[in-house]
């Protein structure tokens, strides 16, 4: 380094302050403290890390220079979904999400962080309003994490070790829970009906038994159709004493039935659609909810914030509910484990739901469904292209390209040259290669008719 600057983030790096402290401690440098680390355990070299960009502007040029290598969904027309969706993020969500108070708080008690507790309590309350459920956790890492937690909760509740899951569920979410349920709980896929994309109830019937701990399905499904057999699935699962877990996209709940109304015991999903930017998949934030019964609440591993009273009459106070459950309190005897998850996103989701209100959520849902219905009609009319599982979608649908004689990869490459990002390629080995050349397309409220028409024109040209 040519010149030693006092780093703006390190005030006591100023020589006079440092000297004052060293003098007070009667030591000459940090080496008098690091002496406790034996020499053979010390790192003697230099970390191979670039020279620092000390001026903020220099850093800005550098980082933005790298970011410029990205191509975004705002500069292109994107039909990617499957777990992260390009919904509109209201300005107020960004304002609140960027407040330094929320951004930089951590685990302080409600006595210093009353607002944090109230904000997360309100988020839980509004998620509860959508789901019609009274017990809602602080956020998990993501939806997949929430499924894993819910399945383990169910297993502790009924002592059973088999979890049946919808065969159409997202493969990466499946991968997460496949690891999370090991070693004791086994995971069995239920086939999906090839004509409807919904759960094959005959296969479910075959696989349900007194060993079944829980049944998990997604609604809408990963492929897009609405799982309108939800009530039947719940009945069948309950008949063998199993718990019912559903993964529900919260952006659908202005128009779709609350899961508790069709027999779901534990509901999970992701808050990302609720005012959280996609951030290359960094915007995930899972939720878990259930009925407010001790048998469920006692099994949550996560932090639960509750409202209570204080010494000041009429004032709301907040605190941890049933903290002894957690691994923070009880180490290996706690329920699974808890840690730093995604609370800030949970707060933002609450802001979003308050902005939207019941009418906004209804308009959001209906508007998405109308756009999808229009897109499906237009796309299905393209020769050799068809939309699978018709007339039953929320915001996603599968386009079958098999009859075009072209691969999804080829089609999407061509679309990309026209500034269009095609949807998730199901022919990829990590997706559903047995479906051949097919892809999941997502449409959100950000899409206009012109956008959809642009896709249709492009597909007509390419296919």
């Amino acid at each position: 380094m040519s010149k030693k600057f006092v780093h703006p983030y390190i005030p006591n790096g100023a020589p006079e302050l440092m000297e004052q402290m060293l003098k007070e401690l009667n030591i000459s440098s940090s080496e008098d403290i690091f002496k406790e680390i034996p020499k053979h355990l010390r790192f003697q070299g230099r970390m191979n890390i670039p020279e620092p960009k000390l001026s903020e502007y220099e850093l800005k040029r550098h980082v933005e220079g790298i970011l410029k290598k990205n191509q975004t969904t705002s500069d292109n027309l994107s039909f990617l979904g499957g777990g992260t969706w390009d919904h509109y993020v209201p300005a107020v969500c960004d304002t609140i999400g960027q407040r330094d108070e929320f951004l930089s708080a951590y685990v302080g008690d409600a006595y210093s962080d009353h607002g944090k507790y109230q904000a997360l309590f309100e988020s839980s309350s509004m998620i509860g309003d959508l789901l019609k459920m009274e017990a809602v956790s602080t956020p998990t890492y993501d939806w997949a994490n929430a499924i894993g937690i819910a399945a383990r909760m169910a297993s502790r509740i009924n002592g059973r070790k088999e979890v049946l899951v919808a065969g159409s569920m997202s493969p990466s979410r499946f991968s997460v829970i496949n690891n999370y349920l090991k070693p004791e709980i086994s995971l069995i896929k239920i086939a999906f009906d090839k004509t409807t994309g919904l759960m094959d109830l005959d296969d479910l019937k075959r696989k349900l038994s007194d060993k079944t701990s829980s049944v998990y399905f997604e609604n809408p499904t990963y492929f897009g159709p609405v799982e309108h057999q939800g009530e039947k699935i719940a009945e069948m699962a309950h008949a063998v004493g199993a718990e019912v877990i559903a993964g529900v996209d919260p952006s659908s709940l202005g128009v779709m039935k609350a899961p508790s109304d069709y027999g779901v015991d534990i509901c999970v999903g992701d808050l990302q659609p609720l005012g959280i930017h996609m951030q290359y998949g960094g915007g995930l934030s899972g939720y878990i909810a259930s009925r407010d019964e001790e048998k469920y609440v006692a099994e949550y591993p996560t932090l639960l914030f509750g409202v209570t009273s204080t010494l000041q009459e009429g004032e709301y106070g907040f605190g941890h509910v049933f903290y002894e459950r957690t691994s923070y309190a009880s180490r290996e005897k706690g329920k699974d484990f808890i840690g730093t998850t995604t609370s800030l996103f949970g707060i933002i989701a609450g802001v979003y739901l308050a902005l939207m209100g019941p009418e906004g959520m209804r308009e959001l849902g209906e508007g998405i469904m109308q756009r999808v219905a229009y897109a499906v009609e237009q796309i299905d009319a393209i020769p050799n292209v068809k939309v699978l599982y018709k007339d039953n979608f929320f915001k996603e649908f599968v386009i079958d390209f098999n009859e075009t004689g072209k691969t999804v990869e080829t089609i999407h490459k061509a679309l990309k040259t026209m500034g269009i990002f095609g949807g998730i390629d199901l022919s990829c080995s990590r997706q559903f290669p047995e479906m051949g050349e097919a892809a999941i397309y997502a449409i959100t409220e950000k899409m206009t008719k012109e956008d959809i028409d642009r896709l249709v024109t492009a597909l007509r040209k390419v296919c």
Binding site: P38, M47, L67, N70, S74, S124, S327
Partner: protein, 519 residues
């Protein structure tokens, strides 16, 4: 107010803010979603009928509030929260509450980052992948280990990733039935016990010797052909560096076990001491602590998991790789545990942390370590002069590193005022609640402070002055502490037992209405 002194007249914002549902008025709107063109509406008909049995008959009971109400409400709630960028957050020891630079938030708000979908073609996200790849490399430099995954969503999630990989490692050798024990230490983070237990292992917990260092003979006695691995922190939560950590590693390796190093609090050891030199097979860093990204009221965070070559075959997929021409997501890891989180990781944290490292370089990261330990020793010297405060294993002659676990045991004996009361009272001087200790409280009436490099001498002095004042109050007017806080956004909970009572607890407004307002 003189600098470096307690804020005697502090008053936190107290808005007496209702619950958002109480602000609702029928028909009021906060946001209008994008309209659907008439042409689309005309052709699509009654789409809601397509929902069949899944159609929602009644609108959700969400609050109906104006945009201004929403903004004001959450701004007020933010003012009733003490973030570390606002306050003097030496308080949250073990959490490394350093300054979170604003410029890094700008990067994370840039549409060139926010508007990226995780399933885009790799060609279109080369910038993002470059940041992942380079930050993975930084983590390899800091740990000295060979590989890095940034997929875990937090520190505990990275520890869980280690537990999952260890399970896969032994399963791969057909030895999972016999390698079923994990050794950890009581002053290691609870996740070092809880995550391996979640992954199916039995846990053996080692207590400290008379100097506060994990009892090496107890570790030797616990290690056996059943040992799958050891999970340990160093320094542990009490700030004492274990000088025999390599001997512990050798004991475990000698019985065939693996060694995981919990480096959640690595701030004081950047460029000073690494997992590699101590002989560990794996380690992790809490990116949201050591690498300057904000804690977000408890996330989003990131756990950087690092390991040696021998553990590579079990790593989560994808890791970000580079073929000398382009960056790509590498799924080709033969015996992978699969995903621990969807997609590559919490990209915003990775982006901010990358920027933090680029603003520091080796020299200033090293200086962060130096200043952290000097700050800590300065603070310790002042605090231990206050009557009624001691520290864990105080007279063992070992110099503390980045943090200290203090104890108000003496104060409690003298005044019946304990750490919870002190913790409630310091808020009245504008300091965030401090971290007491993870459970169990092996050290009675604990307080754990960590004055990392971004705190000034004035901040340290202010903290000491507050503690001195509060302790004086405990001796002169204990009731003042027992009823604290007084200048906070809310007052002391008067029925804490209700939070453990299924008939009374309320996790949502719906539950509160039913349990507390229905009569």
């Amino acid at each position: 107010m003189p600098k470096g002194k307690a804020r005697n007249k502090f008053q936190q914002a107290r808005w007496e803010e209702p619950i958002i549902h109480e602000l609702s008025n029928k028909g009021v709107r906060g946001l209008i979603p994008p309209r659907v063109e008439a042409e689309i509406q005309a052709t699509t008909g009654k789409v809601l009928d397509n929902l069949k049995t899944m159609r929602r008959e009644e609108a959700p009971e969400l609050p109906e509030v104006s945009q201004k109400t929403v903004l004001s409400h959450w701004l007020r709630l933010s003012q009733e929260t003490m973030g570390s960028n606002i306050g003097n957050d030496i308080s949250e020891g073990t959490c490394t509450m350093k300054y979170n630079p604003r410029i890094n938030e700008e990067f994370a708000s840039n549409p060139l980052f926010t508007d990226l979908h995780p399933m885009q073609d790799e060609d279109t996200v080369q910038g993002m992948l470059e940041i992942y790849y380079k930050f993975q490399n930084f983590m390899k430099e800091v740990s000295g280990l060979d590989h890095c995954s940034l997929q875990p969503g937090g520190g505990n999630h990275a520890v869980y990733t280690a537990a999952s990989m260890i399970r896969q490692y032994w399963s791969d050798r057909g030895a999972l039935d016999t390698r079923d024990e994990i050794i950890t230490t009581i002053f290691s983070h609870p996740s070092d016990a809880a995550t391996p237990a979640t992954a199916g292992f039995k846990i053996i917990t080692i207590y400290p010797d008379e100097n506060g260092i994990p009892d090496i003979e107890a570790i030797r006695a616990a290690a056996s052909e059943r040992t799958a691995a050891i999970f340990m922190t160093n320094p542990e939560d009490i700030g004492i560096y274990n000088p025999r950590v390599d001997e512990v590693v050798k004991i475990i390796h000698d019985v065939g076990g693996l060694c995981f190093y919990d480096q959640a609090n690595a701030n004081a050891f950047l460029g000073v001491a690494r997992a590699r030199e101590a002989g560990f097979d794996m380690c992790h860093f809490n990116v949201h602590k050591t690498f300057g990204t904000p804690h977000g009221c408890s996330g989003p965070g990131t756990g950087a998991f690092c390991c040696l070559d021998r553990m590579y075959p079990y790593m989560p997929v994808p890791v970000v790789d580079f073929d000398n021409e382009k960056y790509f997501l590498n799924y080709d890891i033969p015996k992978t545990i699969g995903h621990v989180r969807d997609y590559a990781g919490v990209s915003g944290v990775v982006l901010k942390a990358y920027a933090w490292v680029m603003s520091m370089g080796h020299d200033y990261m090293r200086q962060a370590a130096d200043v952290s330990v000097i700050n800590n020793n300065y603070l310790e010297k002042q605090i231990l002069q206050i009557k009624g405060i001691t520290s864990a294993f105080q007279d063992n002659g070992i110099t503390r590193q980045e943090q200290v676990r203090y104890s108000f045991e003496k104060l409690k004996e003298d005044t019946d005022v304990g750490t919870d009361d002190v913790n409630a009272r310091i808020v009245d001087f504008g300091l965030p609640s401090y971290w007491t200790s993870h459970h169990p409280w092996v050290i009675p009436e604990p307080m754990t402070l960590e004055p990392c490099e971004t705190y000034s001498l004035d901040d340290l002095n202010e903290y000491v002055d507050v503690l001195r004042k509060v302790v004086d109050e405990a001796y002169s007017d204990p009731e003042l502490l027992k009823t604290a806080p007084h200048a906070s956004s809310s007052h002391r909970r008067n029925k804490p037992e209700e939070l453990d009572d299924p008939d009374k607890w309320a996790l949502t407004w719906r539950a509160y209405q039913r349990k507390h307002l229905s009569n």
